[in-house]
Symmetry: C2
Subunit: 543 residues, 2 copies
């Protein structure tokens, strides 16, 4: 009785590129066969379309393309290796989220996903009908029960597979990252394996797609719940594992299980991956960003350089009267430290031209945030002009605390194609900056130490108009991610006035967030597909 080698193909498809993803699958399986002698290769959920394909699934020609891709895979796929791969398919007038089994040129069977997530960022019930049958495939004397992602979080499909005779559960996944997700996922796998007393092979997608980022971390868990192998997070690759028949156990074939990493490192990798894939998959030459001397743009610059390399990053300092000298010094210092292109474009002449043009319309009015927004918008226009002329994407640099309370200017500092720190609270911006500097110097220490300011008015500090960030963030986490009411947050020990002010700001700024660029989601609830709030909204803070 022989042992089995299974290869977990932790790969990154391009959403919508059906023929390209089919070629990637063919190439991957060939490599798994040659390099590792794979008997079985498992690819992620919906690999042929990428995840999430969204409304591309509604195009009738999607089915045509998938038919061609599967025919091509049957023809070109390496022989003597069983391939399990995810794709959508049409049957009985409905779409299904499928896992197909291909062996020596024949598609042997298809499993239809049963648990279709339709919460948070997921809309699977918009597209798919619900499967009801298990699929158990025998290969080289072992019986594999196939599952897709959410199925493993649900009891019925798992038990069904076991009752149908599965000896090993294989699950294809496109499980997006958030900060607590890797630990939750592993705990679930361990518990589920013990519960049904079966080993589980879990293969996850990797890479960034719009606001989602997939962390990989594919894993093998034995029937006693022991984690046997874990593929790296944040790295594309093949991870071979061996099933030792006699012991009914998986053992590693190569590599080591990844050591645990600090939460800062994990988060930082998510931001780098999200930005890198957005820029590269969109075909941009690089990014341009405004460097203010503040911590948000400084961290964004470090992420951009780590994602794309210094040659593809262009930084611009756009000073005005209120820009402190140390801001200019620190921006220049960081640009030099990281080796990026850097220029200084003062905004005085534009701001003055606007104020002069508007002087009659504004006659008799007081100075207010209009003038602050004007500075921010002149910077936005400059960045967009550089973007248009040089083919660089503008990187937006506002953090989640700001986006939550609307402490950002529409068409000003909010311009851009992508925001790497969109879902990172300010307190975490500091943590990440400090952690990044422990790897190598990337952010001048003074940027981390000085009190934060938008520098849009004389001697302005963020703390003039907002609670301290540790308080602000604590309130925001409870309101946004915890769905706690204002009164419940107060009861948890926060100042009444702070809470009402913050909650009201969050509610009123939905219109701003709706026009914000996308960015990497890294918390339990990001501002994007994840949080669908009305703009016109009569909800009042309270109980």
């Amino acid at each position: 009785m022989q042992d089995l080698t299974l290869v977990m193909a932790q790969f990154d498809p391009l959403v919508g590129d059906v023929p390209g993803n089919a070629d990637r699958a063919i190439e991957t399986v060939r490599e798994a066969r040659i390099e590792h002698g794979a008997d079985i290769v498992v690819l992620p959920e919906l690999f042929l379309t990428g995840y999430p394909p969204e409304d591309l699934l509604l195009r009738p020609s999607m089915e045509t393309r998938l038919r061609h891709a599967r025919a091509r895979m049957a023809e070109k796929m390496a022989r003597d290796v069983m391939v399990i791969v995810g794709y959508p398919g049409r049957r009985e007038g409905q779409n299904w989220n499928l896992a197909g089994v291909l062996y020596n040129g024949e598609w042997l069977g298809e499993y239809a996903k049963q648990a279709l997530p339709n919460y948070e960022v997921f809309d699977e019930q918009r597209y798919f009908a619900t499967g009801s049958q298990p699929l158990v495939i025998e290969h080289k004397g072992a019986k594999f029960g196939i599952l897709i992602c959410e199925d493993i979080w649900s009891e019925t499909p798992v038990r069904q597979a076991r009752d149908a005779g599965a000896e090993i559960l294989v699950t294809l996944n496109a499980s997006p990252f958030h900060q607590d997700k890797p630990a939750e996922r592993l705990a679930l796998l361990e518990a589920r394996a013990r519960e049904v007393a079966l080993p589980i092979v879990y293969v996850n997608q990797i890479g960034g797609q719009d606001e989602l980022v997939f962390d990989g971390g594919s894993a093998c868990v034995n029937a006693d719940g022991e984690l046997m192998v874990q593929a790296p997070h944040w790295a594309v690759g093949l991870m071979p594992v061996q099933f030792v028949r006699e012991q009914q156990r998986w053992v590693p074939r190569a590599g080591e299980t990844e050591p645990e990493v600090a939460p800062e490192e994990n988060l930082y990798c998510a931001l780098v991956t999200g930005l890198r894939d957005y820029v590269n998959k969109s075909g941009f030459g690089g990014v341009v960003l405004g460097l203010s001397g503040g911590i948000d743009s400084a961290l964004s610059l470090a992420i951009a350089v780590d994602a794309l390399g210094p040659q593809r990053v262009h930084a611009v300092m756009m000073p005005y009267h209120y820009t402190a000298d140390i801001s200019k010094q620190d921006a220049a210092e960081q640009a030099e430290m990281l080796g990026v292109d850097y220029e200084v474009l003062p905004i005085e002449s534009m701001v003055e031209a606007f104020m002069e043009t508007l002087s009659e319309s504004f006659a008799g009015t007081e100075r207010d945030t209009t003038e602050e927004n004007l500075q921010s918008r002149c910077r936005g226009v400059l960045l967009m002009a550089l973007s248009n002329k040089k083919g660089l994407m503008v990187l937006t640099t506002g953090n989640k605390s700001e986006m939550a309370v609307g402490y950002a200017t529409l068409y000003g500092d909010m311009v851009g194609g992508y925001n790497a720190i969109k879902d990172v609270y300010k307190t975490w911006v500091y943590r990440l900056a400090r952690w990044r500097n422990t790897e190598s110097p990337a952010i001048p220490e003074r940027v981390i130490e000085r009190p934060p300011s938008a520098e849009l008015a004389p001697d302005q500090k963020d703390s003039d108009s907002l609670p301290d960030y540790d308080v602000l963030d604590a309130i925001l986490v409870r309101y946004i991610e915890g769905d706690m009411s204002a009164e419940a947050i107060i009861a948890a020990g926060f100042d009444r006035e702070d809470v009402y002010r913050v909650v009201q700001l969050v509610d009123r700024c939905e219109y701003k967030r709706r026009q914000a660029p996308v960015g990497v989601r890294v918390t339990r609830r990001g501002f994007g597909r994840d949080r669908r709030y009305p703009i016109v909204n009569g909800w009042q803070p309270g109980e």
Copy 2:
């Protein structure tokens, strides 16, 4: 045996304002009782939260607020009248989309919606569990089978209600408008009534909510499929109908069934309603818009004036070198014609300040769309400054054809809080402008007659870079609303090069649309919640 008076309460709740909507219900029922002697009052689907409440449904305090509201309604509601009203509710750990029956201070029963739409703009399976039981309530000797919206489009709930003894079907709706919807809805009601041989009372919400607009058009259809009464479209109000027991038929109690209106009028009313409710429900004093002398801003101005009155509309002409004299004349003429505030702010000095500042960065490059975008963005910044200073919302004026192919400048002409013509194809912009002028002069004829131009370069015309709008729109309708592939559109008789160019532009501009302001959805597929496309997207035009 007595006859029955039922009042269809075609009202406009404010999303999220649970206590306010409860008060509106109490007031409405009181009026229906006093004015019309109502035995029964029917209010729309999810009236207490407004539709769609979106993720407000995930807040635990929603349930608290609903409990208070329903207690208050039981206490304060007029007596001797049965009230049927929609609201969400929590039971067995899940949310349900309910219709509750209130009579003399007691909640007599609740029906849970069975058919939960999760397509197009709808996300009901994100929030609600699926009902399975009919509810038939007897009142004054007649048996009412209660249904909610999508239920009536589905066979099972309708048959269930009939089998449970219903003599009359009452359906509570929040059915959003698109151009073909009123006719489709009526045809469905007539067919369904005949099918089960029961009369149907159909009560719809009215008013605008973000991108959705509800047209009302509540109706009574008799068992033979004859439309007996139809409430006006686009008007809030009470519509009493009488059930004549002996004939088992509904007859009108007051008013006339609305005469058929032209498709242009219907669409125009949708745009006016959407804009008016967005501005008023958000508490803006009024709107400011850029008037270019072109047809899009001219139509938008007419809509704004019809929605808000001329006192609440401020128009700005922002000329540059390329602005034709007739553009300036026509803009001034229309502003005077409609009696709105009007000012002229030339953009030369700002454009020059930007070009001067960028001269070194741009050294050695050719003139391209960067310079055109710069003009557009200077206008955007001016409008936003006026908006900030005067508390007016910027009205965006780009049409659907432009938004589809990205013929619009992010942070330029795309700035604004709301776009009344966002979902109106250019060919329809012309139809609406012509129709509007038949009511009263609102748009100078020359604006309608001259060839369209963005006026961002010398002698520029839209037709220089795009197919003629009748061809463009025909391709767009097939691609966006029909989901036809490029090859299928070519096979339908369109030029290959045109089709590929247009389809590619649509695919590539998702990033722009994602940052566009919301606007009224009036077609089968608007750019908003209705069309969820990936930004990073490897899909290529073809089969």
